[in-house]
C-alpha cells in the first residue's frame, strides 16, 4: 500500500506549489481577461470577449513583431550556439565544465543589469562607438541603440545559453564510435556531419529552439532598454497595460492571446518536425 502511494506523495509538494502559484493565478487571469471596469471603480465580470478581439486589432502589429523578433533571435542563437556546443562537446576534453561555466557566468548577474550594461557599451558615444567615431571609422551620426539590430543582438545574447545547453547535451551523448563508423564508411567530414551528427543532435536543436523562441517572443526588457519606439514588442504592451494603465482585463487578454499563439506554434512545430519525422527527413 505504502509503495503504491509513494509516487503520489513525491509529486504532492511540487503539485501543490504549481496549483497555488500557477494554476490558480492562471484561472484568475482568465477571469480577469473577460471583465470590464477600471482600477478606481473596480472590475466586474461580464464575459466581455471583445477584450480579445480589440486587443488583437489594436496590437496585431506588436504580436507579429514579437514573433518576427523571436524568429530572428532564435535563428541567430542557433547559428552561434551549434558550433559552440559542438566545440565544447567534442574538443574541450577535460575542460568541458569550465567552458560551460563560462557560458553560464553572465547568468550570475541580474538579467536587467546585463541588458543595461549593454546600453552602456553600445551608447552613441560609449566605449565602442565613441572610439570608432574618434578614429573616423564610423560617421558621427551612427548609432546602434534604438535600432532593431540592438534589440535582436540583446535578445540573442541574453538567451544564448538556452540554445547551447540542450544542443550540448545531445552532442555530448553522441557515441564517438558512431562518428568513427561514418568516417570508416567513406563519409567525408561534411557528410559525417550532415548524415550522422546533425540528425542525432536534432532533438537537442528542437528543445533549444522551443526554449529560446518562447521567452524571446515574450521578452520586454531588451526592447525597452535597447530598442526605440519602433521596437515595441507585445511584452512591452502588456507591461504598460498592467503597470501603467492598470487595465488588467486588456493585459490579461493580451497575455492569453500570446500564450495561445505560442502554444499553437509549438504544437505545429512539434507536429512538423517532431523527433521521428525529423530523423526521417534527415535520411536522404
Amino acid at each position: 500500500m505504502r509503495s503504491r502511494l509513494t509516487p503520489y506523495l513525491m509529486v504532492l509538494p511540487g503539485g501543490l506549489w504549481l496549483l497555488a502559484f500557477f494554476a490558480v493565478p492562471l484561472v484568475l487571469m482568465v477571469s480577469f481577461s473577460l471583465m470590464t471596469g477600471n482600477i478606481i471603480e473596480g472590475f466586474e465580470q461580464v464575459f466581455r470577449w471583445q477584450n480579445y478581439t480589440e486587443g488583437l486589432e489594436l496590437y496585431g502589429d506588436k504580436f507579429v513583431r514579437s514573433l518576427w523578433y523571436g524568429l530572428l533571435a532564435t535563428t541567430a542563437c542557433l547559428l552561434l550556439a551549434y558550433p559552440a556546443a559542438a566545440w565544447i562537446a567534442f574538443r574541450a576534453g577535460s575542460r568541458k565544465s569550465v567552458y560551460l561555466l563560462l557560458l553560464l557566468l553572465p547568468f550570475f548577474v541580474s538579467f536587467i543589469l546585463r541588458t543595461v550594461s549593454w546600453k552602456f557599451v553600445l551608447a552613441d558615444n560609449g566605449i565602442v562607438l565613441g572610439t570608432l567615431k574618434g578614429w573616423g571609422v564610423l560617421p558621427d551620426g551612427f548609432h546602434v541603440l534604438g535600432t532593431t539590430f540592438a534589440v535582436i543582438a540583446g535578445l540573442t545574447y541574453n538567451f544564448l545559453p538556452f540554445m547551447v545547453l540542450p544542443i550540448y547535451v545531445a552532442l555530448e551523448r553522441l557515441d564517438p564510435r558512431v562518428v568513427e563508423a561514418a568516417q570508416d564508411l567513406y563519409a567525408s567530414r561534411t557528410q559525417t556531419f550532415l548524415r550522422v551528427v546533425l540528425p542525432l543532435s536534432l532533438p537537442g536543436v528542437f528543445a533549444g529552439v522551443v526554449m529560446t523562441f518562447v521567452p524571446v517572443s515574450a521578452d520586454y526588457v531588451n526592447a525597452d532598454v535597447l530598442g526605440g519606439p519602433d521596437n515595441v514588442m507585445i511584452g512591452n504592451v502588456i507591461w504598460t497595460e498592467y503597470f501603467v494603465n492598470n487595465d488588467y482585463p486588456t493585459a490579461s487578454a493580451l497575455s492569453f492571446t500570446m500564450m495561445a499563439i505560442l502554444l499553437a506554434g509549438i504544437f505545429l512545430y512539434a507536429r512538423a518536425l517532431g523527433t521521428e519525422d525529423v530523423l526521417e527527413a534527415a535520411k536522404r
Binding site: D175, R177, V178, E180, A181, A182, Q183, D184, L185, Y186, A187, S188, Q191, R195, V196, P199, L200, L279, A282, K283
Partner: protein, 365 residues
C-alpha cells in the same frame, strides 16, 4: 594468396600523451597479414591490440613506423579514404537509420553504384548474414546478435580489402558467441576477405584464426598458427595466457639422445625434446590434457612426477585434477570422462603424473 600482403606494419610505434606524460601503447610492431587470411591480434586489455587496429583503420596515426595496405603506405590517409572497414565492439550502428540504410551507408557515400545496384547488394548482404525481412527495422529493435550481423553486413557490403573486427563478440552471451564464431568463419570463407580480429579471448582466437599474433605490453610476443602458439608457446607470457599451462622448471642433469633430462629424484624426471646442455636451467610447459594420471608409477621413457591431489573438479565431459608435485609445483591435469565411471583419485590421494617426451616444451630453447 598473392605476393603483396594485404596489410603490412613495419616498426609501428604509438605514443599517447596525457597530463604531460608520454605512454607508449605500441612499442614497435612488425606484422605481415596475407590476402584472405583470418588473422587475430590476441592479448589482455591494454596490450596495444586495439590501438594497432585503430592505426590500420586510420583513427589513430602511428608516432613512427609504416602501415601498408596492399603495398601502399597509408599513414596520413584519413579513414574515409582507406579501403578497410571496421566492425566496432559496441557495433556503433546508426540509431536513426534502418537496417537497410545502415548497410547502404558506405555504398551511398562512395557513389560507385546506382540506386538499384545498392538495393540489390544490400539485399544480398543481408541474406548472407541472415537478416532478410528485417530491412526496415531500427537497430534498437534488434537483439544483440542481430545488431552484430548488421554491423558485419554494413562493413562487408563495401567489399573492403580487409575487415577489421574489434572484439565483435564480446557483448554477446556464451551460446550466441559460439554460434557467431561459426557464422563468422563461414562468412569469411564465403566472401574471401582478409579478416583482422582483435580479441582477448584465447579460445575465440584459437577457434577462428589462420594465424595469431599474441600481444603483450605493446609488443608481439609470438606470431604463429593456433597450433603453434598453443603447443609451442614462445614465451612464459604466451604459455600462461593461452589455455591452461603447467609451468615446471629445473636444471638439465643429463642428455639422453635427442632429449634433455631433468632428474628430480630417483624416480622422478622431466624429459624435454631440447638441445640444452647439462646444467642449464629450463622452463618447461606441458598442457593439462597431455598428462596421464595414475595411482601406480607408469613405465616408459617419458616424464614422471609424483604428487598429491589437492582438488578434483568435475566438469561433465572431463574432470580437472589439481596436483601438488613433490617438488612443490602446482599442476593441472585434464582427464576426459570417456571411460571413467568414477574418479581416478580423490582429494589427498598420492598419484603419479606422466607424459610423453614430445609433450614437454622448453620455453625459449
Amino acid at each position: 594468396m598473392t605476393d603483396t600482403p594485404a596489410i603490412e606494419l613495419a616498426g609501428v610505434v604509438k605514443e599517447f600523451t596525457s597530463h604531460g606524460e608520454t605512454v607508449q601503447a605500441v612499442k614497435g610492431v612488425d606484422l605481415s597479414i596475407g590476402e584472405g587470411e583470418f588473422f587475430s591480434l590476441l592479448g589482455p586489455s591494454g596490450c596495444g591490440k586495439t590501438t594497432t587496429m585503430r592505426m590500420v583503420a586510420g583513427f589513430d596515426e602511428p608516432t613512427s613506423g609504416r602501415i601498408l595496405l596492399h603495398g601502399q603506405d597509408v599513414v596520413g590517409v584519413p579513414p574515409n579514404r582507406r579501403d578497410v572497414n571496421m566492425v566496432f565492439q559496441s557495433y556503433a550502428l546508426f540509431p536513426h537509420l534502418s537496417v537497410a540504410e545502415n548497410v547502404a551507408f558506405g555504398l551511398r557515400r562512395r557513389k560507385k553504384a546506382d540506386k538499384r545496384e545498392i538495393t540489390r547488394r544490400v539485399g544480398e548482404m543481408l541474406e548472407v548474414v541472415g537478416l532478410t525481412g528485417r530491412e526496415r527495422r531500427r537497430p534498437s529493435e534488434l537483439s544483440g546478435g542481430q545488431q552484430q550481423r548488421v554491423a558485419l553486413a554494413r562493413a562487408l557490403v563495401n567489399d573492403p580489402r580487409a575487415l577489421l573486427l574489434d572484439e565483435p563478440l564480446a557483448a554477446l552471451d556464451l551460446k550466441l558467441r559460439q554460434s557467431m564464431q561459426v557464422e563468422l568463419k563461414r562468412i569469411q570463407r564465403e566472401v574471401g576477405i582478409t579478416f583482422v580480429f582483435v580479441t582477448h579471448d584465447q579460445g575465440e582466437a584459437l577457434t577462428l584464426s589462420d594465424r595469431i599474433a599474441v600481444m603483450n605490453d605493446g609488443r608481439v610476443e609470438q606470431l604463429g598458427t593456433p597450433r603453434e602458439v598453443y603447443e609451442r608457446p614462445g614465451t612464459r607470457f604466451v604459455a600462461g595466457f593461452i589455455g591452461t599451462s603447467n609451468l615446471l622448471s629445473g636444471a638439465v642433469t643429463e642428455r639422453s639422445g635427442e632429449h634433455a633430462v631433468i632428474a628430480l629424484g630417483p624416480e622422478e624426471r622431466i624429459v624435454v625434446p631440447a638441445g640444452a646442455a647439462a646444467g642449464r636451467e629450463l622452463e618447461v610447459t606441458v598442457r593439462p590434457e597431455k598428462i596421464d594420471l595414475g595411482v601406480e608409477r607408469p613405465p616408459g621413457p617419458g616424464s614422471v612426477l609424483r604428487g598429491t591431489v589437492t582438488e578434483v573438479i568435475y566438469l561433465g565431459t572431463a574432470t580437472n585434477y589439481n596436483v601438488r608435485t613433490s617438488t612443490g609445483a602446482d599442476v593441472v591435469v585434464f582427464v576426459q570422462n570417456a571411460n571413467n565411471a568414477n574418479d581416478i583419485a580423490v582429494r589427498g590421494d598420492s598419484v603419479w603424473l606422466s607424459w610423453e617426451p614430445r609433450h614437454s616444451y622448453a620455453i625459449g630453447a
